[in-house]
Symmetry: C2
Subunit: 530 residues, 2 copies
């Protein structure tokens, strides 16, 4: 490239380089099992490998791709690896990838209808399609007062729902009443709800984290919610917003939507349903009952980028009263004024979200729905749930382990039992098992804590995961468990053992079987975030 | 694809389909000049063309691509067309496109360091690189207490800066003081600041929109700011946040950073600098002086996706006190806990932004900086500014037009002069000219209002724009101006004329020359947003 007359968008260069990149990505997927699923690099690794300053002169694509191979990929945690079982999945697919390519290729900014009519209209249509797959009530469709919108993440979805609820309520009770507004969630609700409250200025003392336990399988109890509401009302506070979850992050608990909806309605509370992960399963008729009661909700959210093959980001939010959202989030500066908006005959999605600009994300969801069809997507979900069930059976068959909560979708919550009944010992054992398994490189699982117990989470959901990967994951877990149990674990509570990601565990519980694969100490780290 | 056993991520299918999509995108750019720049479809057009329900069975890629050609592209406003001069540009480039492909291919979620170390570390490094290109003070770099982060848009950047400022202040003066916090901006500040205030719960009466006029070329006057602050302090209010803009949306006005910074500092106000558009120009030494004084700011933002060849979205935010951001936005649920975060040796970007999840956006910025280099990017910016200067000279040479504000970067603000001094007449004339020009199909320009005058905006900045396109844009403007001036415009103030995008203008000022290209009336529109 000639620095004196840059031609950054030459169609033939895009073609040539684009083909190279397609091969690079396809080859990545062909070799993806050769990488440790969880990156094993040390903090600050990349700074040692790249220049301190940007280049003055243009470099070649080959140089960059060589660097991706030599420097970047070792620092990637491979979410698309078939051995990825951590957190929740974040699916990539050929259709989703193609949709991203097309969106990046056209590269429009769809803030208003006029700025790219197809982007807005396809989004309206495709969100209606997805609502129909989920059998959502018509009140969430665009034909009435509702409608769907693609947010980046479930965090943004719950934030905009909260803002709509907040401003609708303040309009009634006066804008000086902010201090009185109360938000309800459970101790299993995603942290994004607390963050949304912080952002929206809900007073910290007015965010209720209601307790759950194993008696309801970690679901919110309607009685607990109602009592909290009544107490707040008696104190002169104003109940505003309740977040119910279908498929909590820790253990896929299901809050009872129907009962919570009736409480919300009679107390004029906005009910938001977070089905970020489990929503995808509800396109299968046999799982649809988990969102029964959604007709009582004011807003409903699921992440197509989690488990519905739509590359990140694509979080679908439906709302019954779109005017509440628009009134809370709309701005209309002169430089964006146009006749279509003024005639009030179009959707301007800038008023449904935090940012002004937005990508053409409906393309990828549209391509996923078309290239895979309802049947393909259902079979995909069912396959993962069957694999999780198979893993669950393996856990049950091994008396050294226990299932901690019932498996509903594709997440299995389990733990290794300690030799004593010492819960502290149990936690250490499972922490050590998690680290040992993740260091082995073939799988990546994560953890949570339920009722004070440290619990391992294995979520089936990567697009390449097959039965053999689930079996292999179980084998690694068994092997590492055996090593830990036989290795006289936690006999050296003050021993230093170094763990994955280069961080030294001071109060470690690891034996030699784990530490053999470790890296050196971390010195002089250039980056400190807190 | 077999619906019974979906294999959504087969490397060879991705390769085959990916190559098809590369050719599709390359062909799009080869033929981009054949499309009207501003889409001419009617609201609701797409609903007539696509099925009401999603497909049950998988469809072929060819079917989808055929539909993109036949149904989607007519509804696209072509931001990458060389005839695109509206709003501000939103650049696509081969490097940016390749970065998006790679990011979508790897498809990770980089909420914490551990979830993909390379994503976090490359972002830290590349934001340092870009800061060096902009010659930002070291206090914004990651080596000290500052650092950079990629936000989706400038709206999110100003929102997180405001939240950091708000919570830092409330920590000092007490969380019950929300009602007292005051935010300052000008009547030229981007609407995202007002929206950020709405979201953050700043009391509507405490958002100051300070007046500017042509005497300062629409820049904020330090005296006006200081007076407003003193008045608020005298009323017992607490000045919190000032947004200064380098390159306002309407006319690229430059607020005086140095003077405003001193006022902000002495009044303990957070100064945020919004250089969303003009920041890119500051990589050229000859334009760097426009951000002199940035050393006084607490946060600085520019959009690499606007004018620095990085596909949307990529908004770079630097902050001096990253802890303020983190303390405002961090959450740390059990299921995300990990040793690297706990050891406090890594950046977890989830705590620097609204969403939890995030894409690997640094890849595209890295590829842009490497494939084009500092020199290539500077030449790109300079070329656009030279083209804008050329357009400015054409405007000046035609006595029927006037320049409304001085041109600084690549935006020209001008208008057609009316035959009388009637400003109402002038507005009608320029509205009609805008519509006529945008209907012609070869260019898309936009407008603003300055000191009550309707003004046309032509922003050079699309990656394919060459001298011939700027000349052609001027020719269309001249032709349509001639037709309007000769056509006895606005003699029929109550005549109905139908405008672009299918919306009927009731109080129109158009003549026959404009209405000949119109479409039919809009009936029974399925979508209503407000």
């Amino acid at each position: 490239m000639d620095g004196q007359m840059l031609k950054p968008m030459d169609a033939e260069q895009l073609r040539e380089y684009g083909h190279q990149m397609v091969d690079f990505v396809a080859d990545y997927y062909k070799t993806i099992e050769s990488f440790p699923v969880l990156s094993q690099v040390q903090p600050g690794y990349l700074r040692e490998l790249v220049p301190t300053n940007p280049p003055t002169h243009p470099e070649s694509l080959q140089d960059v791709l060589d660097d991706v191979k030599a420097k970047i990929l070792q620092g990637v945690t491979h979410w698309q690896s078939p051995g990825y079982f951590a957190y929740f999945p974040c699916n990539s697919s050929t259709a989703g990838f193609l949709g991203e390519m097309l969106s990046a290729g056209i590269n429009i900014v769809g803030f208003s209808w006029m700025s790219c009519p197809a982007a807005t209209e396809l989004e309206v249509i495709v969100l209606d399609w997805l609502a129909k797959l989920l059998n959502l009530p018509d009140s969430f469709l665009s034909i009435g007062n509702g409608g769907g919108v693609i947010q980046g993440t479930a965090s943004e979805a719950v934030l905009v729902a909260l803002l709509a609820a907040r401003d609708k309520k303040l309009k009634k009770i006066g804008k000086d009443s902010m201090r009185k507004l109360v938000v309800y969630s459970s101790d299993q609700t995603h942290s994004s709800v607390q963050k949304a409250c912080q952002i929206a200025g809900i007073h910290p003392e007015n965010f209720r984290i209601l307790k759950t336990d194993s008696s309801t399988e970690y679901a919110l109890s309607p009685e607990v919610v109602l009592n909290a509401i009544l107490k707040d009302v008696a104190s002169g506070l104003v109940p505003l917003f309740l977040c119910a979850t279908v498929g909590t992050t820790s253990s896929t608990a299901i809050d009872p939507l129907l009962a919570l909806g009736k409480i919300a309605k009679s107390n004029r509370i906005w009910l938001h349903v977070d089905a970020a992960y489990a929503g995808s399963a509800c396109i299968c008729p046999e799982y649809r009952h988990y969102i029964n009661g959604v007709e009582e909700a004011d807003s409903f959210n699921m992440n197509a980028h989690k488990w519905l093959l739509t590359n990140f980001d694509c979080s679908a939010l439906w709302i019954k009263d779109r005017n509440a959202l628009i009134q809370s989030l709309s701005t209309y500066p002169e430089y964006l004024r146009n006749k279509a908006s003024e005639a009030n005959v179009v959707v301007d999605y800038k008023d449904w979200q935090i940012p002004l600009g937005r990508r053409f994300r409906s393309l990828k969801l549209w391509m996923v729905l078309r290239l895979y069809g309802q049947e393909g997507l259902q079979s995909y979900i069912r396959n993962h749930i069957a694999l999780a069930k198979q893993f669950e059976e393996l856990v049950i068959q091994d008396s050294r382990f226990e299932m901690v909560t019932p498996r509903r979708f594709s997440l299995v919550c389990f733990r290794l039992l300690p030799r004593s009944t010492d819960e502290n010992q149990a936690d250490k054992l499972n922490r050590a098992l998690l680290d040992a398994v993740n260091l082995a490189g073939t799988v990546f699982i994560s953890h949570t804590v339920l009722s004070g117990k440290y619990v391992l989470r294995l979520a089936v959901g990567a697009p390449l995961t097959e039965e053999r990967h689930v079996i292999a994951a179980w084998k690694v877990l068994q092997e590492k468990a055996t090593a830990l149990l036989e290795g006289n674990v936690a006999q050296e509570p003050n021993g230093h053992a170094q763990l994955s990601n280069g961080v030294v565990e001071v109060d470690g519980a690891l034996d030699n079987g784990v530490t053999t694969e470790q890296h050196g100490h971390v010195d002089d780290l250039p980056i400190k975030s807190k």
